[in-house]
Symmetry: C2
Subunit: 205 residues, 2 copies
C-alpha cells in the first residue's frame, strides 16, 4: 500500500514539474490543461484525478517553489557572522527567486487584487521566514552587544525589506518599465543596496 502511495506521489511530482515548465514559459492563462496533459502523454481527465482544478494545480506548484525558497532561508538561519552578511544573503536569495521564476508569477499580475487565500498564505509564510531571518540576525547582534537593543525589530525589518525592493535603476521614475532590470544595471542596483545596508546597519547601532 505504501508503494502505491509512492507511485501516486511520483506521478504528482511529474505533473507538478510539467506544469511548472508550462507556467514558467507561457504564464498561467496561456497554459492549458490539455497542453500539460499532452506533455505528460496522459489524458486531461487524469490531471483532474490528481488535482481538483487548474488553480489548485498552480498553487501546488507555487507551494513547492516556496518550500524550496524557505528551505534556503532556514538552512542559513543563525549562521551569520554579522548583520551585513545576513542582509546580503536575504537580498541575493530573494532576487534570485524572483528573477528565476518571473514568468511564473504572471498569475499575480492578472488577478491583480483578489487572489485566492492560499496564495496569501504562501506569501505570508515567505515573508515570515524573511523577517525571521533578519530579526534573528539583529537580535543576535544585540545579544553580542554589537548594536543597542531595539523594541520594534519586526517593524524595522519590514521597512528594510520594503526599502530594498524600491531600489531600482533609472532615477526611480515611478514604474517606468515593468520589466526586470537589465544585466548591465545589476551592479548599479547592487551598489545602491550595499549603500543602503551600510547606512541602515549604522543607523541601528
Amino acid at each position: 500500500m505504501s508503494a502505491v502511495i509512492d507511485q501516486q506521489d511520483i506521478k504528482r511530482e511529474k505533473i507538478l514539474e510539467a506544469s511548472y515548465q508550462r507556467f514558467l514559459h507561457y504564464g498561467y492563462s496561456k497554459t492549458t490543461m490539455n497542453e500539460i496533459a499532452g506533455d505528460l502523454s496522459m489524458s486531461k481527465a487524469l490531471l483532474y484525478y490528481y488535482f481538483p482544478d487548474k488553480s489548485e494545480l498552480y498553487m501546488a506548484v507555487m507551494r513547492k517553489l516556496a518550500g524550496d525558497y524557505l528551505k534556503q532561508l532556514e538552512d542559513k538561519l543563525g549562521h551569520f557572522t554579522d548583520l551585513r552578511e545576513a542582509f546580503l544573503f536575504q537580498v541575493n536569495t530573494h532576487h534570485e527567486f524572483i528573477v528565476n521564476n518571473y514568468n511564473f508569477f504572471d498569475f499575480f499580475r492578472l488577478n491583480e487584487q483578489n487572489l485566492p487565500d492560499t496564495i496569501w498564505e504562501i506569501v505570508g509564510h515567505i515573508r515570515e521566514a524573511e523577517i525571521k531571518l533578519l530579526t534573528g540576525a539583529i537580535q543576535s547582534e544585540v545579544e553580542k552587544g554589537n548594536i543597542k537593543p531595539v523594541a520594534n525589530t519586526i517593524e524595522i525589518v519590514e521597512v528594510f525589506l520594503d526599502a530594498l525592493h524600491g531600489i531600482k535603476v533609472g532615477g526611480a521614475l515611478p514604474h517606468k518599465k515593468l520589466n526586470f532590470p537589465h544585466k548591465e544595471h545589476l551592479d548599479e542596483i547592487h551598489n545602491k543596496r550595499l549603500l543602503l545596508i551600510d547606512i541602515f546597519v549604522k543607523g541601528l547601532k
Copy 2:
C-alpha cells in the same frame, strides 16, 4: 494688448481649475470635455481653442500642481535646523501632495507603463528638486560638523528616495510594488517612511 493676454490667461486658469476639479473627483478617463465645458458654461469647442487636446489639458493641470509642489520645496530650501527636519519635511510634503491629489493621478494607473514624455519630464523636475533639497540639507550638516563628510551625497539621497518609493503596505507580494498603492494604505506607508527616516538619519551621523 497685454490686457487681452491677461484675459486669456484668466480664462485658461479657469479652465485649469475646472478641469482639476473634474479630474480629481472622477479621474481622467471618466471626465469628458463636455462636462468640463458644461461646468464653465462654455462650449466644448472653446476648450480646444485654449488647449490642443484632452491630454495636453491634463498635463497643463499637472504642471501647475507640480509647480506648486516645487515651490513648497524651494521655499524651505536651506532653512532647516537639522537633518531629520529636512527629511521629515520632504516626506510629509510628498505625502500630503499624493494624498490631496490621489484621484487625479489615476491617469498614471490607467496608462501604467507608456506615459507621455511630458509626464516624465515633470516627474524628473520633481525628483531633481527633492534631491536638491536633501543633498543641500546633508551638505549643510556636514559644514556645521554635525555629520562627517561624505563623498557621494547624491547617491545617498537617491538611495533614500528609492527606498521611500519601495515602502508599501505590509505583506506585499513580490510584484505588488508595481501597482499604485490604495488610498487607505497611504497612512500606513507614511508611518513606515517615518521609521525609515529615523534609522537613515542616524545612519548618516
